[in-house]
């Protein structure tokens, strides 16, 4: 079981660091730390878990609905409904205040819990958890791989769903329904459509798809809490020569980024390999934060995990780290284009999970 394996790894890390009790916080946005220690995918309210070095896990939730769900969806976890979660957890921590207690991610904890006037002191264990979250076991990698297969299949659905006249949110509805039909409970997805007036992706709007649109999406389904992402761009109708020329830059940049992925390389090396392709074509400006956020990121229990692939991030890549490489950015001749594949760092380089061709797809106008 993945949850048990993760808990064993966490307990070992706590013992090594001399931590007696670990406090993990989560909510529906940043739920990975909590899920790592409890196996619970939180949807509503706050969740705080207390893990003992002996492996005991107590999970406090302030949503009654999620507390009921946690009772069914977790194993070997003591679930407690705690409407005043900070004070309930605080009272529990008072009982172990003599031990060394650490918390992750500490900056997200309710302020009351982290206040210096409490009887207990919470060290920051975010880096310790980040390391565990980034370095995945073979079973965790297998979950990301399965999620990538689901992403590939969902993109085929996406190609069928995009038709002139349909609104963006109707397209996303089709994809979400497909994912529920195959038993996939979670997905992160944003979308863009239009021409050179579009500078990025957002949640779906009421905008209708039109002939000639570039339609971009990031599709990110999860398997057992592990997300894998695919990024692709399509044209409604026939792609223009300018769109094809622009897209070729992204294919070259993605391939360069993937070649740069190997043990010992830094996240910065991957970003530089992608960005150098844009610079080669005089498009260096479009690799800056004015036009793009990141050139990829970690994949795992959070859809936007560490490390971020940026030229100033020096995290060293190691086997078992799962990433997406995506040189997504604006192109002055075509508009916003995305292209990205999920992969795992292997002993010799990278194994790419996504199987969807790296092409500028065309759908009927």
């Amino acid at each position: 079981m993945l949850a048990e394996e993760r808990r064993r790894r966490l307990s070992a890390a706590m013992r090594q660091a001399g931590i007696g009790h670990m406090v993990l916080y989560g909510n529906a946005w940043q739920g990975d730390y909590l899920r790592y220690g409890t196996g619970f995918g939180i949807l509503e309210g706050h969740g705080v878990a207390l893990l003992g070095a002996d492996g005991d896990v107590e999970l406090f939730l302030d949503s009654a609905t999620d507390a009921e769900r946690a009772e069914l969806e977790t194993a070997q976890v003591k679930v407690q409904l705690a409407p005043d979660i900070a004070r309930t957890v605080g009272a529990r921590l008072d009982r172990v205040a003599n031990a060394r207690i650490a918390a992750a991610p500490r900056r997200f904890l309710p302020r009351w819990l982290a206040d210096a006037t409490r009887t207990f002191k919470l060290d920051d264990a975010t880096a310790l958890l980040d390391k565990l979250l980034m370095h995945k076991s073979a079973e965790e990698v297998a979950a990301v791989r399965r999620a990538a297969q689901i992403a590939d299949a969902a993109y085929v659905e996406f190609l069928h769903a995009v038709r002139p006249g349909r609104r963006q949110y109707e397209i996303v509805a089709d994809i979400e329904a497909h994912l529920r039909r195959i038993g996939c409970p979670d997905n992160f997805m944003i979308i863009g459509s239009g021409g050179k007036d579009v500078f990025g992706m957002t949640p779906p709007s009421e905008r209708r798809i039109a002939a000639g649109d570039l339609v971009t999406t990031e599709l990110t389904p999860a398997v057992e809490g592990y997300f894998a992402q695919i990024c692709r761009t399509l044209v409604v109708g026939k792609a223009t020569a300018a769109q094809r020329r622009a897209f070729a830059v992204y294919v070259e940049a993605l391939e360069a980024g993937i070649v740069a992925v190997r043990p010992g390389a830094r996240a910065a090396d991957v970003a530089k390999a992608e960005n150098d392709v844009f610079r080669k074509y005089g498009l260096g400006e479009y690799t800056t934060s004015q036009w793009t956020r990141v050139r990829g990121h970690g994949m795992g229990m959070f859809a936007d995990s560490k490390p971020h692939i940026l030229e100033d991030v020096n995290t060293v890549l190691e086997p078992g780290m799962t990433l997406i490489v995506h040189p997504n950015t604006y192109h002055p001749d075509a508009g916003y284009i995305v292209l990205g594949d999920a992969l795992v760092v292997t002993e010799t380089g990278a194994e790419v999970f996504c199987r969807t061709p790296r092409e500028l797809f065309e759908v009927a106008a």
Partner: protein
């Protein structure tokens, strides 16, 4: 992570609605001698900021600053590239982008008055990192909890919010009616599709796949095997307003009888006496920034009775000889002397 429709409608939420809400908040701020109010939002705690400015983050986090005078501004961790999207879906005077939103917000407030009195809604629950950044960005700011100021204003629904809840409930009802077929995964997909096609901002679907074995709801991952009797729950958001609706598939007469008892029990709210005889029950509603906080119920030691005019979502389980029926629907708490009322028919015939 929201992936439904996030859009602003001047028909459903006209400027006058936001102005009226803001007037009430500013009156309370003046009484409390606050120079500014800070409200935090992420996709777990959107209900304060969406109520004041219409903004719902699909991802990441932000703080809304309400100065005692002048326009509302949002400090968002989302990148500058989505500024135009935020402006389209919200009613804000300005949007600032910063990785440390607490620091930026405090600096903005302190630039007007270094020792300003600043109220923070749900100060105890504010992420610790943001609280520390507020102090760093405005060392002389007097920060204090403004939950008691904000809660009574936020808890009572105005006609616009009631209309949004009714729309959310109608979406949930039509979505649950779209649960057809023989396999539970296909039924869930039908609910998901219908809700999103109708413009839901978000939908969470939970199932009690076999009521004869367990009457609790869970999220389905993988292939779900349903029993003879089962239930689905749709939690639907529409333009920042959340409701829950439950549909049970079991003996029709039993469902009708249980629904009638449920409606009677809801009518007696905020008294919980009508739920005597139910196996379990729960009333949820917005207190500060979470959309569906637990307020009253069989699992809660104490309770925070919803005030007159509050929107709530109610769930209950009723055991009968023939099995268990799960029930749930949104309701509006009546004014003193008035009954509470369901805002959608929980029955699906």
């Amino acid at each position: 992570m929201r992936r439904g429709l996030i859009a602003r409608s001047a028909v459903e939420l006209p400027d006058a609605v936001f102005d009226a809400r803001l007037d009430r908040v500013r009156r309370a701020m003046r009484t409390a001698e606050l120079d500014a109010l800070v409200v935090y939002t992420n996709n777990t705690r959107p209900a304060g900021v969406s109520w004041l400015a219409g903004f719902v983050p699909y991802w990441s986090e932000a703080v809304l600053v309400v100065p005692r005078e002048g326009g509302l501004y949002l400090v968002a961790a989302l990148s500058f590239r989505v500024k135009s999207w935020i402006e389209r879906v919200s009613r804000l005077a300005d949007v600032l982008h910063a990785p440390r939103i607490g620091l930026q917000a405090a600096q903005q407030i302190a630039a007007v008055r270094a020792d300003a009195a600043v109220g923070v809604v749900d100060f105890d629950g504010l992420p610790a990192g943001i609280a520390e950044d507020l102090r760093e960005g405005g060392p002389r700011l007097a920060l204090r909890d403004a939950s008691a100021l904000f809660a009574p204003l936020r808890a009572t629904a105005d006609p616009a919010e009631i209309a949004l809840a009714a729309k959310a409930a109608a979406i949930a009802h039509r979505a649950l009616a779209a649960a057809r077929g023989d396999d539970l995964n296909g039924m869930i997909a039908g609910v998901e599709s219908e809700a999103r096609q109708l413009g839901a901002e978000e939908i969470y679907i939970a199932a009690a796949p076999d009521l004869a074995r367990d009457a609790r709801f869970r999220r389905i991952e993988g292939e779900a095997a349903g029993g003879k009797t089962f239930a689905l729950r749709a939690t639907v958001a529409y333009k920042g307003t959340w409701v829950r609706l439950v549909r049970s598939w079991c003996d029709g007469a039993m469902v009708h009888e249980a629904t009638a008892r449920f409606a009677q029990a809801v009518a007696a709210l905020p008294s919980g006496r009508g739920f005597a005889g139910f196996g379990s029950w729960l009333v949820e509603g917005c207190r500060l920034t979470q959309s569906l906080d637990p307020l009253m119920g069989s699992r809660l030691d104490g309770h925070a009775a919803p005030p007159p005019g509050a929107l709530v979502s109610v769930q209950a389980a009723l055991a009968r000889d023939g099995g268990t029926v799960l029930l749930g629907a949104p309701a509006l708490i009546g004014q003193p002397g008035e009954a509470a009322s369901l805002i959608v028919d929980p029955l699906h015939d």
